[in-house]
Amino acid sequence: MNAILLIARREIGVRGRTKGFRYGMLVTVALVVVLAALPKILGGGDDYTVGLAGQRADRLQAALAAQDAQADDLTVKVKKYAGTAAARKAVAAGEVEAAIVDDTTVISKTTVGSGLSVLLDTAHRIAATEANLAAAGLDPAKVAQAQQVAPLTEQALEGSGEQAAIRQGIALVIVVVLFMLLIQICTWVAMGVVEEKGSRIVEILLTSVRPWQLLAGKIIGLGVLGLSQLIAIAVTGLVAAQVSGSIPELPDGTYALMARVVLWFVLGYAFYGAMFAAIASLVSRQEDVSGVLTPATMTMMVGYLVGFLAVREPDGALAHVLSIVPPFSAMVMPVRSAVSDVPLWETGLAIGLMVLAAAGILALGGTVYRRAVLRTGARVRWREVLRAAS
């Protein structure tokens, strides 16, 4: 046990201090922050500053304030100007985004954004209707009262549209991050195995530790690095999305979802890590690694692509089946769980099968590794290492 810890610690220490890892981590975190805040940045924010000039300025202000009060994610600031000229100047100077002058005209630099346009139009209608009704002799107080209309309450048959979009966004991020992390960490495992085999360090190591200890230490160490990256990405992403206001309220069950993603990462990594390590132990040179790994990488790609499809069609036949079949389930099931309600038995079955598959591949990979890692020189054939214990 002690040996495994030592080996894991070395992997973390040596890999963790490389520039590649540190900068990679920084860039990833920065990228996640930008991505999470992007909708808000691109949307320009639902904060508006509006200029008013004209007789109905007060009424317009009241109407804007009422809309502000009804919506959570909307703030409208109002600046009043003495006349059209002053308002025009304020728009030109960028003090306000748009201004209503003479109760009839909107002034803006270029076009008025659709969100703001609706806002101003509504305010204008309310103020104008009031004025018209008052002119027709109705009691202004009653008119004002009549204008108090509660907004429509939303009742969506398949969850709210906004929530569905957010869920899809999260699912997309999950599948991309899972794939990138898995392929990165598993490649590190493979390269580490070949580094040790090719340089014959393994001959010294194996006089002190058992092959399975060496393999376990390597897989655990690099796995811890991968997991820490995953958690850093998840935490940064969720915090950034909330702070920036892109996702003001996380969909229900987001934290449970994150826990599941971590579980799937661990399972997927156990499977692919052992697979990559076993395959890499067949060759002695770094330049041969990517060649022998192609089938394993392709398997991972299939999971990734189907996971990608499942973002939009979580219950399509292919996504449905592959979300249960290991090892594809590692990337498809978390996506399905993110965008739709997966029956508990399906999740349980998928996890159970994946645990079995991972355990199987760990045992098989360990055997292949043990038999192949000391056989330097030409590529070791599958048939030689898989032949029954000799």
């Binding site: 030592l6 070395r10 040596v14 340089s199 014959r200 001959e203 010294i204 006089t207 002190s208």
Partner: protein
């Protein structure tokens, strides 16, 4: 005591070891020599458990060698293996810890070796940036850090300059003085001759000669007579009984001032006393004696 007994190993049709074996006593420096492909590396890899033998046995203190025993051996493989991205001190310590040392033990042992192998200025450098000689020193430190009971070193001196050779040899001598047997292979036979207490020569997977340097010599030196005669008439060497291995009439540089004729002969005599008489009749005998063959000569003879 390390006993290697009747090792056999085949790679397909190729017989790598065909009953090779030898014994190394406590505190003995054993030089393992042989042509390329003779089976040295295969033997050492079997001793270290890196390779499995088809037959034969390796015993340490009379017991078959297993994993637990091998953890107490120090090993330097044929092709150098170090983590390029690890620092010198860190790397030596790491291998000490893997072999079961406590952090403090590993650190103090690593520090000691770093100092002893004059790596102090390089202790925090990555191994990838070191010269070949320094990498080799680190490699030796890795083999020594856990204070092994036996050292198995495959070509530890190859590619080293004389100063590095001395540093390495000094450290090895310390270990043998402490009773640790050392087995090392080398093609530098002058070095083996100088350092080793005993030598084994392997050829095509079989031991063809073995023993102390003196024993090997004693066995071989009966054969060669080295005779130097001056002032003899040409053609006298034809009367020498036996087979002439080499002869020259050119005196060694620095002794050319002599005006008299010079003859130097190396002879495998059929009758040494007759040879002495022939030389004495021919001229003035300057030198007459059994030649001590160098290890290189013994090696050539044995392996030929």
């Amino acid at each position: 005591m390390l006993e290697i007994d009747g090792l056999r190993k085949r790679y397909g049709d190729l017989v790598a070891l065909d009953g090779a074996g030898f014994t190394v006593r406590p505190g003995e420096m054993f030089g393992f020599v042989g042509a390329n492909g003779a089976g040295k590396t295969t033997t050492m890899r079997i001793v270290m458990g890196v390779l499995e033998a088809d037959g034969g046995a390796v015993r340490w203190q009379g017991e078959p060698v297993g994993f637990a025993t091998r953890r107490r051996f120090g090993y330097m493989p044929e092709e150098r293996g170090l983590y390029a991205k690890m620092r010198v001190a860190e790397q030596i310590e790491y291998f000490g810890r893997l072999a079961g040392m406590s952090p403090a033990e590993a650190r103090s042992s690593a520090d000691e070796l770093i100092e002893r192998l004059t790596l102090t200025e390089r202790r925090d450098d990555e191994v990838a940036g070191l010269s070949l000689g320094n990498q080799q020193r680190v490699q030796l430190a890795v083999a020594l850090v856990h204070r092994p009971e036996l050292l198995v070193l495959d070509e530890p001196f190859s590619g080293l300059d004389p100063i590095a050779v001395d540093a390495l040899a000094g450290v090895l001598a310390e270990r043998t003085a402490a009773g640790v047997p050392v087995v090392f292979s080398s093609h530098q036979l002058d070095l083996v001759e100088r350092l080793c207490d005993s030598i084994g020569i392997i050829k095509a997977g079989r031991m063809v000669a073995g023993g102390t340097v003196a024993e090997l010599r004693a066995r071989e030196s009966r054969k060669l007579l080295h005779i130097v005669v001056t002032g003899a008439a040409p053609g006298w060497t034809d009367r020498l009984p036996g087979e002439i291995v080499s002869k020259t009439d050119r005196p060694p540089a620095g002794e050319s001032a002599e005006t008299a004729r010079y003859d130097e002969v190396v002879l495998v005599p059929s009758d040494d006393q007759e040879a002495l008489r022939v030389a004495g009749q021919a001229g003035q005998v300057q030198h007459f004696g059994w030649q001590r063959p160098s290890l290189t000569e013994i090696f050539r003879e044995v392996v030929a």
